[in-house]
């Protein structure tokens, strides 16, 4: 790595009072093995160059040797905080290609699971970004409440993080008898807990000074960079896949797409906080109305997709997650491409952190909610 830095120093024109700092690959605020080659002048950030590849696991290549049900469990390992959404994307893509319709019960269960995961993911984002801003107590508040969701998920599917619950044609098991009761209990509890989050951080004057007006991403830039998810919506870019291309049970329910206006760190924060409320609304609309029926279709032992190209997108906790399958009619795909939200979101960082301080770089990264294996799959 030394040689690379040497080269950059000699080739790039660098002023005497600028210096390079390698933030990462091992650094507390990068939430994984991301390396930011940062050009600083004193405290002020002049240039940020994200370097990825430290956790590259070759998932896209691996899929070419695996059957479709096997691909599903690899997607758990990409964005591990929205594994349910990733599973769903692959399964929907396969089902669309086979032109089969899953039972209504499956749609409801899938949507509830996705929203529960979105809640868990936003809780973890909340506590981790609180920690990035120096509020260490936030970390434990978030994890305390996330634990409840993980327990609910564990009860039904046995896993807490990498669920691998959604399979082509349905879900792996039927929901646990306690599932509905526990989810409702959790929602009632969390509705009381969520205002605590605001009390601890959002209303805090230091927090507002740290985030308001910092790292503004305009709507035009958000669209140009392909920024999606809460980050894009904070800039006023209406990009919710659940709204624009509804899938599973989303067509049956009413919910708002939470849009922001300013596109600064505080707005990104606010949009995610609002999304937590909205997720609870969605779950409440669905949880009592889960129709009776099969939890999965009877699928063939070997799933073969017809020849052609198939694309399916879903709204993961971080933005638009897309699966693009090229099939040549065999039991494993010819080529799979995942469109991960984190990748597009990350690369705006140089654009919006220029001129801000190192502390702001950390705050901006925190509000982007980056998961590195999602970027670097």
């Amino acid at each position: 790595m030394g040689a690379i830095i040497e080269k950059i120093i000699t080739t790039d024109e660098i002023k005497t009072d600028e210096y390079l700092v390698n933030i990462g690959p091992q650094h507390p605020s990068t939430h994984g093995v991301l390396r930011l080659l940062t050009k600083l002048e004193g405290e002020i950030v002049h240039n940020v160059e994200p370097h990825i590849g430290y956790i590259h696991s070759g998932i896209e290549k691996m899929t070419e040797a695996l059957s479709y049900p096997q691909i599903v469990h690899l997607t758990d390992r990409m964005d591990y905080f929205s594994s349910s959404m990733n599973n769903e994307a692959v399964c929907l893509c396969v089902e669309n290609a086979l032109q089969i319709e899953v039972p209504e019960r499956v749609k409801y269960i899938r949507t509830i699971f996705s929203e529960l995961q979105r809640l868990a993911s936003h809780q973890l984002w909340w506590c981790a970004s609180g920690m990035d801003l120096g509020a260490l107590t936030a970390f434990f508040y978030g994890l305390r409440d996330r634990e409840d969701i993980l327990d609910i998920l564990e009860e039904t599917c046995g896993a807490r993080l990498t669920l691998n619950y959604i399979v082509p044609g349905g879900v792996m098991f039927d929901i646990h008898p306690n599932f509905q009761k526990n989810v409702k209990a959790f929602i009632t509890k969390f509705r009381k807990k969520l205002p605590e989050y605001d009390k601890l951080l959002t209303d805090n004057i230091i927090f507002q000074n740290r985030t308001k007006g910092v790292g503004v991403l305009s709507r035009e830039d958000a669209i140009a960079f392909g920024v999606t998810g809460p980050t894009g919506r904070a800039s006023g870019f209406s990009c919710d896949v659940r709204k624009h291309h509804p899938y599973s049970a989303y067509p049956y329910i009413k919910f708002d797409e939470k849009l922001g206006t300013d596109g600064d760190s505080f707005m990104r924060w606010k949009v995610r906080m609002n999304e937590m409320w909205e997720s609870m609304n969605i779950i409440e609309q669905l949880i009592d109305n889960i129709p009776e029926g099969d939890f999965a279709l009877k699928m063939k032992g070997v799933i073969k997709l017809p020849e052609g190209e198939f694309y399916q997108r879903v709204e993961s906790a971080r933005g638009e997650f897309g699966v693009y399958i090229v099939s040549d009619g065999k039991k494993n795909p010819y080529r799979v491409k995942f469109r991960s939200p984190g990748f597009s979101n990350l690369f705006t960082i140089n654009h919006i952190t220029k001129g801000w301080k190192i502390a702001d770089l950390v705050a901006i990264m925190a509000t982007f909610d980056l998961v590195i294996p999602d970027i670097d799959r």
Partner: protein
Amino acid sequence: MAFEKYDFTPITQSIHQALIENISPLLATVIEWTIIGVLYLLFIALFGLLLVYAERKVCAAFQQRLGPMRVGPWGLLQTIADFIKLLMKELITPKSIDKFLYNLAPFIVIIVPFLTISVIPFAPGLQALDFDIGIFFVTAVSSIGVIGVLLAGWASNNKYSLIGGMRSGAQIVSYELSVGMSLITMVILAGTMQVSEIVELQRGGWFLFKGHIPAFIAFTVFVIAGTAETNRGPFDLAEAESELTAGFHTEYSGIKFAFFFLAEYINLFIVAAMATIVFLGGWMPFHFGDWTTFNNAMDFIPGLVWFFMKVFGIIFLIMWFKWTFPRLRIDQILTLEWKYLLPINLFNILLMATMVLLGWHW
């Protein structure tokens, strides 16, 4: 008064007499110095460990955890075990550092609490140095610490350390003004800089109540600036974990790291002790007007206990700050000092001076 019976002067005097009668005065002085030195060394080491334990328990309470529970009853021996671990750890010296300055920095940092603690009266008659410029001595000596932090940041030859050191330099130099000025405000009220005298003057009532409005302002400013001067959250920029990994002490390990760690906690104690002495009457018990029975009951609590009760109250307050607030940014910290605290302080000094001149205080 009843609490005079807890005076330590007879004990110290009798030791002094016994020594001076039996051996030569020079040797007696040397022995006395040694005893005092050893006592302070023990106090700093043990109290530092106690504070680390207290911080872990307080932070655990805020975060709905139990904190250390495994080593000893309620985890009481946890910090001691940690300290032994730090003692035995390898001292890693990175390549291409300034070896002399790198090794010097922790010692400069640890010297400060040893010097400042000498003027603090723990109880009547329990004070090592009692000169007429006590407050001035504390403010002067406590500024040495920043040199150690800057040296550590510079000598480590690490960019994170350098940024941390520079941040801490800017911060401590700025906030020293506020600490000094809020102390000056109270010195105006007291009319003396001798620490024992200041405590004695509060026999009739703590300065916080005697000096009412300006004293309250000075107290608030002192606690904020004191928190900033000890580099504690929300002003812990110098070692901002999420930004600079560990700031100026990134490259230190083992006992050298322990020096920084210990110094931070003892500085916390000193800030709390100074606030106690200047605003809350030091070891003076709490009295309320002419409630004689209540006042007599209060007098039965020894001065040493009063002192530590107040100190722990303020330490708890400062810990509360750390575990509640997010971190400020460097420019916001300097703005807070130069645009808000400093003008408030200057105005407050004027207010206090006017009040003392016109005799509006109690």
